[in-house]
Symmetry: C2
Subunit: 343 residues, 2 copies
Amino acid sequence: MTDDKTSLQVGKVGAKPTLKTISQISGLAIPTVSRALSDAPDIGQKTKERVRQIAKDVGYVPNRAGVRLRTGRTNVISLVLPTDHDMMNHTARLISSIAGGLKETQFHLNVMPHYPDDDLLKPFRYIVETGSADAVIFNQIELDDPRVAYLRERGFPFAVHGRSKWADQHAYYDFDNGVFGKIAVEHLAQRGRKRLLLIGPPELQNYGREMIAGAREAARNCGVHLMIADKINSDASSDNVRAYVADLLTNDPLIDGIISGSTTATMAAVAGMEAEGFDVATDIDVFSKEAMPFLKLFRQGIIVVPEDVKHAGEFLARAAIQAVREPNAAPMQGLEIPKRPQS
Amino acid sequence: MTDDKTSLQVGKVGAKPTLKTISQISGLAIPTVSRALSDAPDIGQKTKERVRQIAKDVGYVPNRAGVRLRTGRTNVISLVLPTDHDMMNHTARLISSIAGGLKETQFHLNVMPHYPDDDLLKPFRYIVETGSADAVIFNQIELDDPRVAYLRERGFPFAVHGRSKWADQHAYYDFDNGVFGKIAVEHLAQRGRKRLLLIGPPELQNYGREMIAGAREAARNCGVHLMIADKINSDASSDNVRAYVADLLTNDPLIDGIISGSTTATMAAVAGMEAEGFDVATDIDVFSKEAMPFLKLFRQGIIVVPEDVKHAGEFLARAAIQAVREPNAAPMQGLEIPKRPQS
DNA sequence: AGAAATTTCTATAACGTTTTAGATTGCTCT
DNA sequence: AGAGCAATCTAAAACGTTATAGAAATTTCT
């Protein structure tokens, strides 16, 4: 008569509810509850509704460790980022917008900074070997990017901000820097500028190459002179950019247009200009890409092309999820075409 | 003679090594391997060394889902952040430096943005109820912060950037905004300014209250006039700050000093000033806290007090871990005292 | 009506780890 | 030499989930 062993221990209040709790309340087996909640086809409609109601009542949330152990799925998207301080504005928006894109999904965002002194592949090896995420997102892509190569080789899902030489085969979102370079030169030429300086991204990175190529071609077509900043790039420190620009202008005071690929580089370049007595818009036109809308505060006359980082982040979130869920489908690819500034 | 069932399947190359792999190679039981790796006292020294060597050889990494399921520990620190765009600079540095502080530990960082339209407690309830992290870090603390109250009530480990009214009982790191307000007023008074405007953080947040109190007291002592910006604060949008300052100066052109609690607010305020024909440093002194070092580029004459966000992040990382590991120890608390600018 | 097919459910096992309790061995003490 | 003890190991169970294979109940077909 003593049925201690088989007596139902109906979910004590306070304890975290599990499938077992629901199983005991409903009298159904645990797998049935599991399948009911995941809307499996072999569970009756009434049962499903009843189970869902109980789950709601007791406040059931799946234990992620249990799911992960059983399925091997982590439900985590990892974002690996350089800690380069000049990328901060762009980076902050990227994090925030990727997380935004993940908001209504089952996925979580894990941020892993990559330190300049570390091996470039280290965070990626870690993620792949420990299986600590289902997909990785990263940026600052080189044409022959070793991280892309590694992940492709291991068959690990990823999505990148930028394009490698294998871009047609992987998920990416990119800002069309070729078009940006072209627009910049054309716009300045149209305003009568003849002697331009481009402070572009590092040439090693694909987007730097593209921006330079776009600008060069437009310069040829428009018949203006274009110099490419050599000792520095738009990722350099503010001090270096400012000094470089100031220095350059003492040697070549005929420069009448500066094109910049980043918000911070622009501010530094303007500081360098002004130190040499040149004014924005009157003496030298400044044309810049901007991720954060404060250049107009900085100097009213700066010509600005916005980059929609929010959209980029949301796109990358979706692209990463798609790469996890449908590894064989065509990868999601997006390209932002910069718009010509008016006037 | 057929011992298929008991034959040892020594770790196939490619498969992810587990404790079982090591157990089979070493001939030891799985728990023995586990205890050897965790340096338990009841395992022989030679055994420990042998196990560690094998683990290294096969490249063993503990399966986090397994650990988590068994122990209930996630090894994740969650960072919940507002998506307020004017906080971006500060935020990016915070993320990066918290992650930096977690670098050599077993902990991972999970970033969860908090959307202004959502219930303030939503992310916290989620974390506590799903157990998706061991501790939470967050910022923008109010004196009577409901998030702090909730986590305290649930006994969930946390560390915050800022101080609530229960600050003596929880882990925090804070910049001493009272001292900042004091220094700002004293410094401007010393430079002969008489009529100051403070654009501080929202008064609802504790650090806003403190900054205002510090500034007020110093103003009394120095005998200068201090106005507190009422319709806006340093978290307001750039456009609003600019318009507010411009507007104020048309009504009260005798203002000769502006104190600002954030980098972006400072830039906007300067833009507003200049639109009315006032110059930085000559007509009006501008005194600002800055998380990102570019205000000197913006206008050379701005007086700047740096905030060491990197240190704050690293401190918070350590504090959160301590809160997890030693819930009953005295919570870690840190306070950054701003330094007086020279001259 | 009986066989076959379909629907709906359950029992069992497994993912990788750690904890608890207990087993074995060798050693020390009297 | 036998009892007691310390050192070192192992067996079994458990955390919460889902996949697989099969059982039971119901419906459909001929």
